[in-house]
Subunit: 343 residues, 2 copies
């Protein structure tokens, strides 16, 4: 890998995390350009021993890239991605703009990397809560066959970006707050059961995403999902209380083993449990509180915790790029030397 | 009513709320005595224009009362209630000590006041989350027939008493904290999925209470309930995301009407929703986010919010006393003058 990378929304919370992950994961970056809205242009951002200017995003600048990460809003993605993709740049979009399109893969690399095959230079990064929930549910689905699930979320303020973090910090510091502007309500000592906009069926857009995106990622078009998505005064880690029902009888011992052996999951046994405050800046999703559900048969109740800025956004986007790079390698290399030597 | 009342745990969060509710609801108090643990004895507490001493609780002092409210822990209830009840004092117990006993009514006055008939001087006040959840679920059950429900709670720190409130305030003020002592974890910017102790089946005692107490209050011994109870950094109001399944097809219009016309419920229509911070010190439980559930048939998803210290504890206990007083009145008075005059 020696990649020419651009980040759109580089001064936002996901853009900044992406930058630090590029370093942390030792991605070999041949060229880097950073874009943001006008109010950030002119700033310089540190990366890997140098500083880079933040540029105003303009169509003419989107050339000579291997990958463009879009970490701004849906409108920016809609405006710039189609042309960039048509010019041959692979665009990994963190917004919801293209997630529903049939010819746009919606990918969690641990779950449906095959969806990347034959992509048309637009890859959608899923919704944060959906990624975190499915990371725990998918390995169980492989064994027991997912029938349906419900989820109540405990979502961090980082979900709305830096301004959400600032709003919470301000309220903690002096109880004056920009929270009402950002969330419509104060956030400290509160729980706001509305993330996104209301749909006609009463679910919010965030709740609808969990239904639609789970169906697409898992290739289960009739999957039933119901979510209640709630913003709580937590900084950057989402938690989810889920009940997952399977076609097959759920075996607790086996379920625990499956989660424990999964490299992308930190599994908490028995009387241990993950809390969001202890999971900041961690790549793995944490799962605990496994119990045979007392409400549905063949179902498990569980508690899932993940850093929304990492696996819920920047890390998953970067893993998509890593997976695409792997797919680009000649087959003989991808299989590794042992297979290549004829074993 | 001209009642001789004693409050055990009078300096705790529920005891203090009870005192202010006695004034607010204009209960005619003929005599009042306040009891607490040794560290509070000697204090004086203001009530209705006078101050009252806080006394150390001793068996010999528990006489000449009509009602004793127990707002201390289960061990205090276990030690003092049986003798007090045997001596003819009606004991209303806020602890879980006697909730499971067959001959102890477990009462939410709006739901099962009939359970008070033939009581043996011990009445149990249910768990706070159970009260708040059932206040919303019961009127729907009457129309559609409850089959089962699941609930994810967002519980306030007041649930553990004054020390919980203080722990949150301390963390907000200077980030030093007694939270780890109280909750086992820091509470600011956190969500702790453990309230009470773990049972062998993996549910916590708080979660098991919602199952067992719902069965008893609703007289539905086979009811299936599954809960995930989570402490979040909110002061004194609990929120609950519930999915409620019925035997009959759920009709949204009718369901909305039923909740709207219920005097003990503040119903939030369509795109309005209740948040805990705005529901402090309110008697009514608030219900919103009603939507036909996308996970189960004949089911509704809803968001329930109630002041844990009021309806979740002190108010419900006081309403039990008010209901008992009503039951003591001669029948002719209870029916009101119109019926008494022969109409």
């Amino acid at each position: 890998m020696n990649l020419r990378i651009g980040i759109v929304g580089a001064t936002g919370i996901v853009g900044m995390e992406l930058l630090s992950l590029l370093e942390e994961r030792k991605i070999s970056v041949a060229a880097l350009r950073l874009f943001a809205s006008e109010k950030s242009t002119g700033k310089r951002v540190y990366f890997s021993g140098q500083t880079f200017p933040v540029e105003k995003l303009e169509m003419g600048k989107l050339e000579n890239f291997d990958y463009l990460f879009f970490c701004a809003g849906t409108s920016v993605s809609r405006e710039f991605i189609p042309a960039a993709a048509a010019s041959g740049i692979c665009c990994i979009d963190n917004s919801s703009a293209f997630r529903g399109y049939d010819d746009v893969p919606l990918v969690i690399p641990e779950i449906n990397p095959h969806a990347l095959l034959g992509h048309k230079n637009i890859i959608a990064n899923p919704n944060c809560s959906t990624i975190i929930a499915l990371m725990a549910i998918f390995p169980l689905h492989q064994m027991f066959g997912l029938r349906r699930f419900c989820a109540a979320t405990y979502q961090a303020v980082s979900g709305v970006g830096c301004s959400g973090m600032r709003a919470l910090e301000e309220e903690i510091a002096d109880s004056h707050s920009l929270a009402e502007k950002i969330f419509g309500e104060r956030i400290l000592s509160n729980a706001i059961p509305k993330i996104g906009d209301f749909s006609p069926n009463g679910y919010t857009s965030e709740e609808v995403k969990m239904l639609n995106e789970s169906r697409k990622i898992l290739s289960l078009p009739d999957l039933r999902v119901s979510a209640t998505c709630v913003r709580i005064p937590v900084k950057r880690v989402h938690s989810i209380a889920a009940i997952v029902e399977f076609h097959e009888p759920f075996d607790m011992r086996l379920g625990e083993q499956i989660l424990q052996q999964n490299n992308s999951i930190d599994f908490f046994q028995h009387n241990e449990f993950p809390c969001p405050l202890r999971r900041e800046n961690m790549d793995n999703v944490a799962v605990g509180r496994l119990r045979s559900d007392t409400f549905l048969d063949n179902a498990v109740s569980l508690w899932i915790v993940g850093d929304q800025v990492r696996k819920g956004a920047a890390l998953n986007a970067l893993q998509i790029m890593e997976k695409l790079e792997l797919l680009r390698l000649p087959k003989i290399l991808r299989q590794g030397p042992e297979t290549a030597s004829g074993r």
